[in-house]
Symmetry: D2
Subunit: 406 residues, 4 copies
């Protein structure tokens, strides 16, 4: 039987050409698999037909938008996941979602190889291949751009030589990856990190500097899951989509950063993730109200490692699963409402309400009703500071003066 | 000899009354010490004279603004210190600065007790007392409000009964602590955490929602120290002051959060810290450009612990000193220029330039000049993902299906 | 109705006297509760009767040995919990087990106060009281020794004055706490930390220096739970008891350390925990074989924090629960057999066998059958070291010479 | 000019053959560099002459024993560095020491390539190459065994064909790496992880099971540096050598473990490191006495990361340098004497003495002289447990029962 290769197919020039290119390089039949994670663009059926027209022996398309929101974006929201304190892992989250469909297709069609369209210097190749080897260690991975020298120019030539039904228009200056959780843009002039981005780069967000009316929103969570927006029940997907529109209209979620890639280099990235940033901002503050201090302090470290793991393509790793065990437990009480004003590029929480609140008005107030017993503090401070004090006594003993001058 | 108490003196009603109150309670002579950490307000000499008029046997005043900026705010900037990812530790930084002056005064004047005006349910009592016991373990601490039941009403009565030269106007609804690094506000109606702050609460910042022109600024750092603004050399104090004005004018640095106090309760706090937020934002991005990935990842954890320690009043603790050893080393190459647009409440970096940059255009670019050898990636991915892959093989062996359905 | 106090009762002099002492101080009825966590000694029924004879209005006794082993010791084994890398948390584990019974008794008998026999300078008072306030925040805690100045001498006098049925023999020089997981000893001459312990201090272990035959044992685990010893099925309690005997006979599990108490002081402690140390040693090595590297590395940090939390009396805290979520997940594959030689104070693993092993002979071997593709390493090393290399290039660029001399 | 390759030369068969092999493969002149890190064996001059006899154009030998002890072993002692809580990094420490000499030789002789004898599946190839690229990013690395298929059999054939002056005796069953800090052994029959090691495997240590007299030793440290043994001043090298003899005679420092290699596989390793284990054991306990609690707790995490970094070959990385900043500061007060009994494979501390001690007899004692104010504890416990208690009140409020049954 002819060998079979499952290809992660987008419908664009590169992966359309890759169908024939892989067939030529390997002699294998190519099965195209397109997964909709909310990237927008063409109808899935159009994409499916194009794959066949380009030579695929089979083509599968899957609407994975809800699955992507529930199983990938939601854990990121509950982890307040921001790589390098900024980037909500947009592309990093979509890769494992797509990988799962690729592996399922490989098993269904008896393929022993999976192919993807990534280059050899980015993070996505790692995310695809580490993901695949963690779900299906028996599968081999190939990347025509990286492994078979399928450059853009050669792809266009191949396309024309084989009369493939794709427009080979002049390349857009932007290299873009997008899904419902956000959008990543790279482009030549931004590789000079002193250059500022121009308005033309953005699509999910409007200019935050344009004067407009603020938009106030109330987001309700149940155990860390966004369940309603302004009192209207929503799925996770709907919450993201709705906030993409409303937060995007206020210019929220633009990110311009130099980031550390897994392959060891620094790169400059522009992201837009209005819904993601609005949801994480709200979730963080609801945690401030409902999560106990020591748990909250430790969770910050867990969140950071979780974000690094996912960024590094280790979604299906044992450590990721164990961190999820922690995060799920930590979200047990993250239930309540957060009111935010969205305006001028900022989502600002100004109200919180929760049946699970640990904020106790009577302990916090300085007015009538104060129940905090201040006489306890003396003993607390003395013992809390004891180990530092003893260390200080050592200093005195030794004649150190700690720079006090005397 | 009569015993002597050094009192942290602000010039306001509470600490002015405390002079006499402490004298009555303890029979000791009271020495008032006022430290200027940029809180603004009255002239130091006026304050000094009032202390004497209120019964202090001695009164000392110190302009510690530069010292506060250099020795307390600067380490916080180099640590990107944001407690709970938000609060730049404004009050927490000023306490150790004041403590050092109190201890020096106690030694100079032979006092065996230090007094402060804090209540018994906040963080500041801990910061004062843990600080004092770490610098001078032999000193005793007292707090008239907490230990001698000196309530506001009783203080006013005392003031009137003793004809102290202080206006006993009706209490402002706001409880405020401020210094050059920022301003903290608590007030009754905000103790309902569903209530939004009103514009009246703010003083260091203008309303970010008001339409106005953006302000572009270039901040230069040398080894993590801000050394110039728009090419003009500045001291750390000047950098903070200048950015307080410019970032404040754009509404930058407002914070509204529920926070975890050291004494175990949650409280709602409003802060303004325009200069601090602008400087930390710039410093963070310059680190993104100049600090190696693994160091940067680890530093995030160190920063978090540093912020918790300082928030918790452990400025003079052995762990704080050791973390400073790490942070100083990590800032060794944080040298260069950051360009930011300040507008509408946001300070957004859009350009970076550094002789110490680790961003390598030739490795990062996808255009001509690319020097990254993509053939290396295959081996990297395979070995990087090896331990997860082997774990996955165990799963396959065991017949687990990882939820792939088959 | 007369108020009721539940007292943690041991049957010894101090808590026997406390029954009447508390009654006198508070006017409340005292209910004695004794919990058997494997401390050995008298029959529970004897203890129950003595409580009544000493004036308790009710006395409850509970055999909690299995519960203690399953719910408290087992999580510690799965966490490889060693406070300060040494101490298996013996007493710290028993306190929450006892607390649960005290709280249940308080609710059953309508008590509003819980009393315990601890002093005011140790960890156990915190473990009792923090535990009680986390399970039953409405209960008040008292400690006669600390709060009502019930010194040893006064207790003896009280005992004699009231003809209580307890022998008031001269105090043993040792202060001991013990349960099935181990034994803690403090004594006057060891408060000089230069003094070595004498053989007389030990009870669970024989002198490791005495020549004797080694004992080889195979311990089997299922998901981190010890389920068999030398092929014989055991409960967790039996595993601990059996290894207490066999490892104890070889002098295993003696610990002599200066430790950091929660109340800020350092103390010198002698522990014996033969079963605990043998089980943790075996469990650790089985993890080495069955847990993926990154998970294993992270788990070490989690273990340390888990041990600190439990030592600090925060067994019932939200963070502890979330760390348990992590640890449970991490133990999912810790299944297999560990062979150990026990001799001369050491438990040394020398064989491991597991169906869940991640050790792959074919990848590890340097002999025939090697399946590791060494050609992958070049790319791995190059990219793995890339970020350090780029940082080094900056150094070269800047003329630094890294101390190479040239 | 002919290109030049610097080869890490051991004097053994593999690297002797590599001289000619590299010359043939690359056409370059080979410069042999042998570094003595205490591995014992032949005289350096003999080794130098053999290199020349085998075709090297230059041969350099360096006695780096003191340098290795001071600059590599000492930081490991101060970090209590034990990879996976067991392995004192023996080989991992020697690689950067050797690398520094290789790079210096390459610069001196104008070489553009460095060669080493490692295979392609171990850690050492990474340690060599990551080290070299961090010190001299312009140098290229090659490994004949890995890159030019120089197998053992082919090496023997080459040796005979070229009449090289090396004995090509039948290969020892053991693959060994050793230096003054310890010894690592791998061998075929131990690749079955159920097999126990045999006595024949060990060389630095005698059988711990053999009855013999205990050996008591006092080790003195100054700021974490071992400076005297039994009162006799020593260099770091002498301390290690002396304790290798004395602790080795007692069978101390044998390690048998399954470990996680950087290349993603698990391997089974046997180590002996008597001096290292004795010194680290003593150093740890002196830290228990002299380091403040919070610093000690945090240092444990730093130690673990430090060990992982060094194991992973990142000795010269920026993160390693910053962690060293922390560790140096933490060792500032680690001064004093530790008395240990060494016997039966165990080094057991039984006495500590320090002018920098934080152990305070008067605070710790339960006897006369106790200065700890127990009345402080009540307030401490109440506030220390406050956040957990408030979380518990939420539970009560919600009708949860925490499994208490009622």
């Amino acid at each position: 039987m002819t060998e079979r290769v499952v290809l992660a197919y987008s419908g664009g020039l590169d992966t359309s050409v890759a169908i024939g290119w892989i067939a030529e390089e390997t002699g294998a039949d190519v099965i195209a698999v397109a997964v909709d994670v909310g990237q927008g663009g063409e109808d899935l059926d159009v994409i499916r037909k194009r794959a066949i027209a380009c030579g695929a022996v089979e083509a599968e398309v899957a609407d994975a938008k809800d699955e992507f929101a529930e199983e990938y974006c939601l854990p990121a929201i509950r982890a307040n996941a921001l790589y390098m304190d900024r980037y909500p892992l947009v592309s990093a989250l979509s890769r494992p979602a797509i990988v799962k469909h690729l592996v399922a297709a490989a098993r269904k069609h008896g393929a022993d190889t999976v192919a993807h369209g990534c280059t050899g210097k980015g993070n996505d190749q790692v995310r695809f291949e580490a993901g695949i080897s963690s779900l299906a260690p028996e599968l081999r991975c190939i990347a025509p751009v990286r492994d078979y020298a399928m450059t853009r120019d050669k792809a266009i030539a191949f396309c024309e030589a084989n009369s493939l039904p794709i427009a080979t228009t002049k390349k857009s200056p932007y290299s873009i990856d997008q899904n419902v959780f956000g959008r990543a843009v790279e482009t030549g002039f931004l590789e000079d990190i002193w250059n500022a981005p121009i308005e033309d780069v953005y699509e999910y967000t409007r200019n935050p500097a344009t004067p407009r009316e603020p938009d106030e929103v109330v987001i309700s969570f149940h155990k860390g899951v966004p369940v309603a927006v302004d009192g209207q029940e929503v799925t996770v997907l709907e919450a993201i989509q709705l906030l993409n529109v409303r937060a995007g209209a206020q210019g929220i979620g633009r990110i311009d950063m130099v980031e550390d890639r897994l392959v060891g280099i620094k790169s400059r990235e522009i992201y837009e993730a209005p819904g993601a940033i609005a949801l994480i901002t709200a979730h963080q503050e609801l945690e401030n109200v409902t999560v106990e201090r020591e748990l909250a302090r430790y969770k910050r470290q867990v969140e950071q490692r979780w974000g690094e793991l996912v960024y590094d393509g280790l979604w299906f790793s044992p450590l990721k699963r164990a961190l999820d065990g922690f995060i799920t437990e930590a979200n047990e009480h993250v239930t309540g409402d957060i009111r935010m004003v969205m305006h001028g590029g900022r989502a600002v929480v100004n109200g919180r309400k929760s049946t699970e609140s640990l904020y106790d008005f009577n302990l916090a107030t300085y007015d009538t009703g104060d129940t905090f017993d201040q006489s306890l503090s003396k003993g607390f401070i003395e013992i809390f500071g004891m180990s530092s004090k003893i260390a200080a006594q050592r200093h005195s003993r030794a004649g150190h003066d700690l720079g006090l001058g005397q």
